[in-house]
């Protein structure tokens, strides 16, 4: 490490004590040219596309695209800008377009072949979520915003096809056709059905007592959406089935992203769950938290599969690639302690990890 130019290097080299660098304790592959500010979202390309392409949106107003090669090398491919921080990204099902949602109250469609991006949606407040819906009789984009509306857009028209009122600001959403679920402020939770046209299906009383933070739909053995996992700001995830045979038994919550659980002498630190992702093949899930750890879980066996070492920053986003071999997670500041703890100089990272073995379900005894 050079002693010149980087103050950290100077300090570490000059004073003998080997500073353990905890920015990558899991020794995972670092993505090259990561964004310059906190990464808000990650998305891998769909199966229709050969190879693996990773999209990441950040608070530096940019969206970046990398190609992930089989040997683990990452190659930066392209980049687009918004006029405000990017909060969510998603792919079209054929892999030709990327949709991006931003604090600048717009959503854009990025054609990767031509590398052109055009605006396709507009709200009165920052757009928090964007999802592509592919139905047999229509295709559209669904955007959820802090202006308390959920809008559906045909990308060819400047006006929304449909606009639904939400009870509160949209905080997170997920879509697996024909189901969509929105979690809002003040612990709101609404399920929509998307057949023929989107309509509200059911409002659900929140299974969690604290602010909703992230949500992900899971599928049953027939590959149909069966329920969702909902993460809160206080170290807890709820597994909720839409039509379970026995709701009291089938639905449950579990604690996660907490410190020193059994030691009652010191108070237990509780961290926010920042993102949840389901493995596309095994149906097991990954959660990432403000504590700088990721964990893998088997919801059917109701057991934890693995918890990582602690990174020196919160983990803000995660994603599996389309065949479940790669797990990507981003290490950056999530603003969980306000602006006082923000260090613009601190580097942000995206790591890639081999996910083939660690997410296999635990066999039930």
């Amino acid at each position: 490490m050079s002693l010149f130019g980087t103050s950290a290097g100077f300090g570490a080299g000059g004073f003998g004590a080997a500073t353990t660098d905890t920015h990558n304790p899991m020794k995972d592959v670092e993505v090259t040219s990561p964004p310059d500010d906190s990464i808000s979202c990650l998305a891998f390309s769909p199966p229709a596309m050969p190879g693996n392409f990773l999209i990441g949106g950040s608070w530096a107003n940019d969206v970046r695209c990398w190609e992930v090669q089989d040997n683990g090398q990452t190659v930066p491919k392209a980049q687009q800008m918004h006029t405000g921080p990017v909060l969510d990204v998603c792919w079209s099902e054929d892999g030709s377009k990327v949709f991006t949602a931003s604090c600048d109250k717009t959503a854009k469609m990025w054609d990767l072949n031509s590398n052109q991006a055009i605006q396709i949606a507009q709200h009165d407040a920052p757009i928090r979520t964007v999802h592509w819906i592919k139905a047999p009789n229509y295709n559209c984009i669904m955007t959820g915003s802090w202006d308390k509306t959920l809008k559906f857009w045909d990308t060819r028209s400047p006006n929304p096809m449909m606009s639904l009122q939400l009870p509160e600001r949209c905080y997170c959403a997920d879509v697996v056709y024909p189901m969509a679920v929105i979690a809002s402020a003040e612990r709101g939770l609404i399920v929509y059905q998307l057949e023929n046209q989107p309509s509200e299906f059911r409002r659900i009383d929140s299974p969690l007592k604290h602010q909703h933070r992230c949500i992900a739909i899971f599928k049953d053995k027939q590959n149909k959406p069966a329920g969702f996992a909902l993460g809160s700001i206080e170290g807890r995830v709820a597994i909720h089935y839409i039509n379970p045979p026995n709701p009291a038994k089938d639905n449950f919550t579990f604690k996660c992203h907490r410190s020193n659980g059994t030691n009652t002498a010191t108070p237990q630190d509780i961290y926010a769950v920042n993102a949840i992702s389901f493995h596309p093949v095994h149906g097991t899930l990954a959660t990432v938290g403000s504590d700088g750890r990721f964990s893998f879980w088997d919801k059917d066996a109701r057991t934890k599969l693995k918890t990582s070492e602690q990174l020196d920053q919160p983990i803000t986003a995660c994603s599996f690639n389309n065949n479940g071999n790669i797990f990507a997670y981003a290490s950056s500041y999530d603003w969980s302690k306000g602006h006082e703890y923000y260090n613009p100089q601190k580097k942000n990272y995206i790591f890639l990890r081999n996910a083939t073995e660690e997410l296999k379900p635990r066999n039930k005894k």
Binding site: A185, E186, Q268, S336, G338
Partner: protein, 427 residues
């Protein structure tokens, strides 16, 4: 004034809650027309702007932001109600500064407390709590509101005592106290005077004249009379405006209130003449409001089920075997337009029973930090105060987005070093 604006106001003026200081007609028209359109996006944006400002404010007068937020909410939601979130907002504003001595006699803070007290079911308890905490004891508005409440409940002796205390404490502005005290004394005197003439009037009444706005006279043997119970603002304004039938009307009132006052005098004399400073550990729990009652059995009366040989007709009448005459109507009856946007489901949302948690109890819990029951202590590792410091919650991204927005607007002003002041929203 635009004609459209007038029509709007006329259509729903019963639903508009009056404000003590009156409503800006422009704000009222705008609020009503927005509700009719169903578009609340501007309102949402304003609200979000206030919520953001509450969290990023770094000046030394945070009460200012809360005060403007309350004023804006009152003007923007004329009907009050759940959508305005006014009750929550008042409660949070009040709770935020209870520990802050410097605001205890700030005119704005005291006014917020008074609004909060009046929105509850036991304002007197709130006023007593305020006095015990020293909130508003130097402000005339506090004593005026308190004595008004006593007067509305018929306890003029206590109402007067409140003024006496205010003079003793040298609350400001003194002229205002004198003015309102004089008005109280005038009302009391008028009632006493009319009470003296009441019996003579009844004897002299020969011809049964039809008189309006007076007590219902009893008929026949039964001496019971339906009382007129004027409450609140109607009381003071009524006695001042109608001078013709006032003696008889307020005589009835006085008749009732005299009974009440009489008991009160007994009770009042038992109290020490100088109200002592009660030591309140916490504000009193207010009784449940009417819409917080849990559903219960309405009555214990059981309707007997008659057998088929019984004679009570329980089934609804069969259809008449003639065609009821339907009058031809030229125009459809005018209906007031439905103000409820069908997309908004929050109007009649199901309310879970609150388990007796009332605003005052919450304040009480804030003073005494809750004890954990021996289980593992938990500590949230995020900026809870920042997220929850407004009337609604914020998430990390909203906080950060607000910072970003401020940074950008500061930059666009040409890099002028400026404190992030108010967001230029109307007061």
């Amino acid at each position: 004034m635009a004609e459209g604006g007038e029509a709007e106001w006329e259509l729903c003026k019963e639903n508009i809650q009056p404000l003590k200081k009156g409503r800006a007609i422009s704000a009222l028209q705008e609020a009503l027309s927005q509700q009719q359109d169903g578009s609340s996006s501007t309102t949402n944006q304003h609200k979000q702007a206030f919520e953001s400002e509450l969290r990023v404010y770094e000046g030394d007068d945070p009460l200012d932001v809360w005060n403007r937020y309350v004023a804006w909410t009152e003007q923007t939601f004329p009907q009050g109600g759940k959508e305005s979130n006014l009750a929550v907002l008042l409660e949070r504003a009040v709770a935020r500064f209870t520990e802050d001595k410097k605001y205890h006699n700030d005119r704005r803070y005291v006014d917020i407390w008074i609004k909060f007290a009046q929105s509850g079911s036991e304002p007197l308890d709130m006023y007593r709590y305020m006095r015990a905490q020293g909130i508003g004891v130097q402000q005339a508005s506090f004593y005026i509101a308190w004595s008004e409440e006593y007067e509305n409940q018929g306890n003029v002796r206590a109402a007067d005592n409140v003024f006496q205390e205010s003079f003793k404490r040298e609350a400001e502005p003194r002229e205002k106290l004198l003015q309102f005290h004089k008005a109280l004394q005038a009302r009391v005197a008028r009632r006493v005077m009319s009470g003296m003439f009441e019996d003579k009037d009844e004897e002299e009444a020969e011809q049964p004249e039809r008189a309006s706005l007076v007590d219902l006279k009893h008929r026949g043997k039964k001496k019971a009379v339906v009382p007129i119970n004027r409450v609140g603002a109607a009381l003071s304004s009524h006695s001042q405006s109608l001078n013709l039938h006032v003696p008889q009307a307020s005589a009835g009132r006085g008749q009732n209130s005299r009974i009440v006052v009489f008991e009160e005098l007994k009770a009042a004399s038992a109290e020490p003449s100088e109200p002592k400073l009660e030591s309140w550990k916490a504000p009193p729990p207010s009784k449940s409001k009417e819409n917080e009652l849990r559903p219960e059995k309405w009555s214990n009366v059981k309707m007997p089920m008659k057998s088929r040989f019984g004679h009570t007709v329980v089934a609804p009448q069969s259809k008449p075997n003639f065609l009821p005459f339907v009058e031809e109507v030229d125009q459809p009856p005018t209906m007031t337009p439905c103000k409820i946007n069908p997309a908004v489901n929050s109007v009649l949302s199901a309310r879970k029973p609150c388990m007796e948690e009332t605003p005052l109890k919450r304040l009480q819990q804030q003073e005494r930090p809750s004890q954990s029951e021996g289980k593992v202590q938990e500590q949230s590792m995020y900026c809870k105060e920042l997220l929850l410091s407004g009337a609604v919650e914020f998430c990390f991204e909203e906080l950060r987005a607000e910072r970003y927005r401020q940074k950008m607007s500061a930059k666009s002003q040409g890099g002028v070093e400026e404190e992030p002041a108010g967001l230029g929203l109307p007061d």
